[in-house]
């Protein structure tokens, strides 16, 4: 091991409580296979060498049946087979016994062409990603929205079909923090092989942090005040109305800092910090000419540090940013679908992810 392609070994990583028991059984059956194969092949080689045509050996009194011998080589495999069956049955029953709800995390999974949705009980929803805590049993209740799928977690040695029209379930207890594969092991149509994702097994601390971020691991810690402002801009979804250019709902905020604003009552004011702060906290005080009084009041829901940061971000806006920002976040990470907010932009993310993958393909 450790050389070239073999550095990954010939065995998948074992990261669940069941995996070591699984591997022990797998290896035992493999050894039995070797025992029978090597034994039989050795006998064949011995016979074909010793009794090949022309050798001077005793060929008299050829026997054509021997019931005792037949019974031995029926009996021994039969006993071995029943023994192995019992072992395997015990393993299977334990793996199909769902954990006590009080001591486990329950997660819902919906399979559809061609992605996985996971719904946590705390409201967090993930697409093609599943985040769980190490050491905590997980029970997944699954259903398909269209055709058959199979949720397959190779490192957990867990798999079960996801069937339309009925709920199925699967359980595992992750034992090793890390990033693992989520695969679909049932042919489900064109993009079957792209119905893949990641299973994140986190330590309790990491999990708490992840939860704090609302289940969004792609939210980074801001390094400048403007970046912090950008996160608030996205969280409050300012760009829903304030787009890169003026639109019927709201004026663009790109480049307004320091400019003169004209209001519906005919008064004017320079857009400085005080103006922007007041427009966020009490927008109805000054309505820009040509617009309705539609902006919500943020006075009681936004803190002063947040307002400061927002102002710094607004200063950086250009006509090419603004509403396009949200889309960029969805697209920013290639390969899989990244929107972990509670807004369902699954389909959007899906097509964006595929578009990225295709363009990577075209470049080759």
């Amino acid at each position: 091991m450790g050389w070239g392609p073999f550095q990954y070994g010939v065995q998948p990583e074992a990261a669940s409580a069941h995996a070591p028991y699984y591997d022990a059984l797998f290896i035992t059956i493999t050894l039995l296979l070797l025992l029978f194969t090597v034994g039989t092949v050795a006998a064949i080689i011995y016979f074909v060498t010793k009794y090949r045509r022309g050798t001077k050996v005793d060929r008299k009194n050829v026997i054509t049946h021997h019931t005792g011998l037949e019974l031995i080589w029926m009996g021994v495999p039969l006993v071995l087979a029943l023994g192995m069956f019992a072992w395997s049955a015990r393993n299977f029953i334990s793996v199909r016994t769902m954990p006590d709800p009080a001591e486990s995390t329950e997660i819902f999974c919906i399979g559809k062409k061609w992605m996985w949705h996971f719904q946590h009980m705390n409201g967090v929803r993930e697409n093609n990603e599943l985040t769980v805590v190490v050491g905590q049993p997980v029970k997944i209740t699954m259903i398909s929205q269209d055709v058959l799928h199979a949720l397959y977690l190779p490192e957990m040695r867990a798999q079960y079909h996801v069937v339309p029209g009925r709920y199925t379930d699967l359980q595992f207890t992750p034992t090793k923090p890390g990033k693992y594969k989520i695969l679909c092991a049932m042919h489900c149509g064109t993009q079957h092989s792209e119905m893949v994702g990641q299973l994140y097994v986190l330590t309790p601390t990491e999990y708490a942090e992840w939860l704090e971020k609302g289940g969004n691991r792609y939210k980074t810690k801001p390094t400048t005040v403007a970046e912090a402002g950008k996160q608030i801009w996205e969280e409050k979804q300012c760009a829903n109305c304030h787009t890169g250019v003026d639109n019927p709902r709201a004026p663009s905020l790109a480049g307004i800092f320091g400019k003169e604003r004209v209001f519906t009552d005919g008064t004017k004011r320079k857009a400085d910090r005080d103006y922007i702060r007041e427009s966020i906290k009490m927008p109805h005080n000054m309505i820009t000419k040509g617009y309705e009084n539609t902006m919500p009041v943020y006075g009681g829901t936004i803190t002063e540090p947040q307002v400061l940061a927002l102002i710094e971000y607004i200063k950086t806006l250009t006509p090419s940013t603004g509403d396009f920002e949200r889309q960029d976040i969805v697209n920013s990470i290639p390969g899989t679908n990244r929107d972990n907010s509670n807004v369902d932009v699954a389909n959007q993310g899906q097509s964006a992810g595929n578009a990225q993958f295709r363009s990577a393909e075209d470049k080759r």
Partner: protein, 563 residues
């Protein structure tokens, strides 16, 4: 099976030059023939073409998988390619290859009959087979099928590809199988020559008898099931789709009720071929005749009780799973019996490594691995991680390619002089048998590893695990070698049909009515004189074996000198 051993060198050839091949040369005489031997040859041509289509699809799959991102095909075309590979190989090649080609040709010859019980039905079954094959081909010309050979619902009921046409083709092919099976059972029961008692039948006949029972009981079920898919697609009857009130898991039960026994339809005839070859080239009677014969019947019976082992994770109950698992474990025993008996047959034999024997020895090794890796899957717990991965792909290719195709090629090489009255080059035969063995292992062994690592089957891309590429490249390299191993017999056997040296009636010095009492090739009526059987099968004597077989002498001549 005659009273006396016919000496190889002085074997009498009815030299009047009349045989089934030259009885008539018109195309009509071939297309309207009711001679079981000619129908066997028609099947040989047909399955060779279908095998070629399936093999081209396999080559495309292997080429595509050398890169984690795919190379040439879109995912849609890739799915259609593996569907074509599976559909052609399973329905148009593996299920029919040995029974329809070698079975049709040899069953009447081996039991001392002039023809099948129902010669016209036999011809009809070839036409049904061709009609099915042409409809399947048409469905691929018109755009293809993307649901895989298993046609799992609701994928197959929702798919907008040519599923219905393809299923109608398979339905018709299925009835061709049923006709063949009816014919085999009736022929074996009613047409045996005087003295050919059940326990004097070659084991080849026992295998085909067991196969015919499985075909007869299983095929109607899958035919109706696939037809129900067509009905659901065409008329919206809610049989399998949950939106219409149907049950997708019901389809799996019905499908595997046939398709698991179908595995035995493919492998049992190969067992028969191996029993014939091993005895002939060990020059001694088979060991444990009755155990081998009854193990075929036991496999045919138990084979019907294990279909649920394809469905351990399908949402069937744990108890159901356990029952199917334990029967599957027990089913391993009759298969093991055969291998042990064949091995023991070589004890005190006089073994000769002719081309058919090399295929038979290869078969035993590969079938051992194929059969024993079946235990990883029969074991209900280990199946959880392996089902739906390349481990399964490797397992059933070891059984289907390593078993059935090795048996088929061994059989073709063994009975080639009988079928065409000519000998092929032993040297090329041996070389290509070894190429097939090496290429086969190189192709499919890496798939066990990549499957255990978690590579799902039917995946077009694996960019999320580029470390699997190494195994895929090994496998593709192996498939190239395997392809050469399949192409070579195509060349030298075709050459031998037209230019090979004339063979005597019994070039291997083998036992059996087809060798001892019929010419090479046989006449249309099979036997010049009425046949009477007075002996047990495989009445070889290893101590009397010293001469070179005629087959070797002649092919050695062909190569420009005796060894």
């Amino acid at each position: 099976m005659s009273a006396t051993l016919i000496d190889n060198a002085t074997a009498e050839q009815p030299r009047n030059d009349r045989n089934y091949l030259n009885a008539d040369h018109t195309l009509k005489s071939w297309l309207l023939t009711v001679d079981h031997k000619r129908i066997g040859i028609l099947y040989l041509i047909a399955v060779t073409i279908f095998f070629f289509i399936g093999a081209v699809a396999a080559a495309m799959i292997r080429y595509e998988l050398t890169s984690p991102h795919g190379i040439l095909l879109s995912s849609e075309v890739y799915n259609k390619t593996f569907s074509a590979h599976g559909i052609y190989m399973v329905f148009q090649f593996l299920v029919v290859a040995i029974p329809a080609v070698l079975g049709n040709f040899l069953i009447p010859l081996m039991i001392g009959a002039r023809d099948m019980a129902f010669p016209r039905l036999n011809l009809l079954s070839w036409y049904m087979f061709m009609t099915g094959g042409l409809l399947i081909t048409l469905s691929f010309i018109l755009g293809g099928v993307d649901a895989g050979w298993t046609f799992y619902v609701p994928l197959s009921t929702l798919s907008e590809t040519q599923i219905s046409l393809c299923l109608v083709g398979i339905f018709i092919t299925g009835f061709s199988s049923i006709f063949t099976a009816v014919n085999f059972i009736a022929t074996i029961h009613k047409m045996r020559a005087p003295g050919m008692t059940w326990y004097r039948l070659p084991l080849y006949i026992w295998s085909h008898y067991s196969t015919a029972i499985v075909i007869l009981l299983g095929t109607p079920v899958v035919a109706i099931t696939l037809f129900l898919v067509v009905v659901e697609r065409g008329f919206g009857f809610g049989i399998f789709s949950p939106e219409l009130g149907g049950d997708p898991v019901l389809f799996q039960h019905l499908f595997w009720f046939y398709s698991h026994p179908a595995v035995y339809i493919m492998i049992l005839p190969a067992f028969g071929v191996i029993s014939e070859i091993i005895t002939c080239f060990s020059r001694r009677p088979i060991f444990g005749y009755k155990f081998i014969a009854y193990s075929s019947l036991a496999i045919a019976f138990l084979g019907f009780l294990v279909w649920g082992h394809h469905m351990f994770l399908s949402s069937q109950s744990v108890l159901q799973g356990l029952i199917f698992s334990i029967i599957t474990w027990i089913l391993a025993v009759p298969s093991a019996i055969k291998v042990f008996n064949w091995t023991t047959t070589m004890y005190k034999g006089s073994i000769h490594f002719s081309t058919p024997m090399l295929y038979a020895l290869g078969f035993m090794g590969l079938f051992l691995i194929g059969g024993l890796t079946g235990l990883h899957l029969a074991s209900i717990d280990t199946d959880v991680h392996l089902t739906g991965t390349y481990f399964i792909v490797a397992h059933f290719h070891y059984v289907m390619v390593g078993g059935t195709i090795m048996g088929y090629l061994g059989g073709i090489h063994f009975w080639f002089p009988k079928m065409f009255g000519r000998t092929y080059s032993e040297m090329w035969g041996r070389i290509s048998a070894m190429i097939v063995f090496v290429g086969f292992n190189l192709t499919f062994f890496p798939q066990f590893i990549v499957g255990y690592l978690g590579m799902p089957r039917r995946y077009h891309y694996y960019y999320f695990a580029p470390e699997w590429q190494f195994y895929h490249i090994l496998s593709t390299a192996g498939s190239t070698v395997l392809g050469i191993g399949f192409l070579l017999p195509g060349i030298y056997l075709t050459y031998a049909i037209f230019k090979g040296k004339k063979a005597g009636p019994n070039p291997w010095g083998a036992k059996g009515l087809e060798w001892e009492q019929a010419g090479s090739p046989p006449i249309t009526e099979n036997f010049e004189k009425p046949v009477l059987v007075l002996e047990d099968p495989y009445n070889y004597n290893p101590e009397e074996d010293s001469k070179m077989y005629e087959h070797e002498v002649e092919s050695a001549d062909m190569l420009g000198g005796r060894k």
